[in-house]
Amino acid sequence: MPRRVAIVAAGLTPTSSHRTDVTYPELVYEAVSAALEQAGLQASDIDAVAYGSMDPFDGVFAPERWNVEACAGAGAARRPLMKITTGGTTGGSTALAGYYHVASGLFDVVLAVASQRVGETLEAQLVLNTAVDPIYERWLGAGAITIAALQGVRHFWRYGTTEEDLALIAVKNYENARRNPNAHLMRMLTVKDALNTRLVSWPLRLSDCCPSSDGAVAVIFASEERARAIADRPAWVIGAGQITDNYWMGDRTWYEHWDSLSMLAHRVYRQAKIEDPLAELDVAELYNAFSIQEIIEYEALGFSDKGKGAELIRNGVTTMAGQLPVNPSGGVLCTNPIGASGLIRVAEAALQVMDKAGERQVPDVRKALAHAWGAVIGFHTLMVLSRGAP
């Protein structure tokens, strides 16, 4: 029987397009301090660190090196630290690493940290373009936006999803973000506003695209004994996993279906003993870097049948007042320090279970889902957190 592991604290930083007020180590220190404070712990109580970031965005290769003291504290020498980097899922993979550190029995209290300073890059899409294979594809100028746009075109074509549906998703997230003090974009947006924003890459408009953000996040995982001592209401990990599809985007032109996410959801729901996610989950934090993706995620995660994802937003099911609020934080659409965003989803889901989500708290959360995607939609991570231990 695997060791029980719970999240006992989460620390987030204010995010913006460029946190010029802090250096990288200072930004990380903010998140780590916030998590330690919430847990009532000192840096010396941490047994190991799992650190995630996507290097090229920050203009610092391997920023965890520069940031060692910020996360391991004075006396960093002799402390275990492991760097995880898996594209957009980095934050999710880092959470998984934190979980396995404790589940292995080697460590009892582990800090998962993720950071990204997209603001230090002059052009994020150019950096993303370097993810595209230089041999066959980089010359096309493909980046995250154009790839997400391909998904939009396919979903519209196959299922009749509309620009209005995308606008509804954007409006919901923007409204939620206004109650999240750590969100990047906190502004009013109506459907009409959304439909009038600039077209970036057909069919995606500016309001359908995530911002580029600076931010960091820290989450503390603990063994059962320590978790019960540290937190009143730990968020127990009852399901966790990741999946990797191949690189070649032309191998799966059915962009409107995220088959690998469905496969992962099947595995993780089984671990978590979830059969009807729409009914059994109380909140979900999904990696919606682009509005169309939130709709595709609903379908892949089994909240709706294939092609019917837009109905959930049209009927208000995934708004704060609905049956399954999705992204009370405003999601990635409103805040995107890329390598950190996956861990922010886990942090937000944990805060919901721990009843520490402030103004964006969903009442009576028992089970929460956190998701991240990365690569050419080839990577996915999922974590299910619960008020009750497994």
Binding site: L126, L150, S201, N246, G250
Partner: protein, 155 residues
């Protein structure tokens, strides 16, 4: 530090030279493009005909060496038109596509040309998933993916 003190911004640039080998598989593909031939590899186990060609099938985990020539014509599987300008990326508007050449089981990333893109409504009329396309070659070919200039709609 007082309230008025300026925050210093230090410019940076990664000026890192690389020499990316195309390896023997992509190199063979590129040499064939010089001759206006589009090649792919068939997996002996799953029988998928794979383009762009790669050294092994990641599903069956076997090395690939059965070359097949695929068609100059193909079907449009997905597209987008980028209207925004991004530093270092092509000037807009450009239409990025996934086209499945006849005979292949996977699609190739490329561009769509000879189509009205600037006007969005006309673009939506002119470009649709399922359209038939054909490759247009550059006159001077050097052995790279851009030896194909773009794909255009079949007349």
């Amino acid at each position: 530090m007082t309230q008025e003190e300026e925050i210093i911004i230090i410019p940076g640039r990664w000026d890192l030279p690389f020499r990316h080998t195309a390896g023997r598989v992509a190199s063979h593909f590129f040499h064939a493009l010089k001759e206006k031939r589009i090649l792919a590899l068939r997996c002996p186990r799953c029988q998928r005909v794979l383009i762009p060609p790669r050294p092994f099938c990641e599903r069956c985990f076997v090395t690939l060496d059965e070359w097949v020539e695929v068609g100059q014509q193909g079907t449009l599987e997905a597209f987008t038109v980028c209207y925004a300008r991004f530093t270092g990326l092509p000037d807009p508007p450009y239409c990025l596509i996934l086209v499945k050449p006849d005979g292949a089981d996977t699609a190739l990333n490329h561009l769509l040309g000879e189509v009205e893109l600037r006007d969005v409504e006309r673009m939506k009329e002119a470009v649709s998933i399922g359209m038939r396309l054909e490759a247009v070659w550059r006159d001077e070919r050097e052995g790279g993916i851009q030896d194909i200039k773009y794909f255009r709609p079949l007349a």
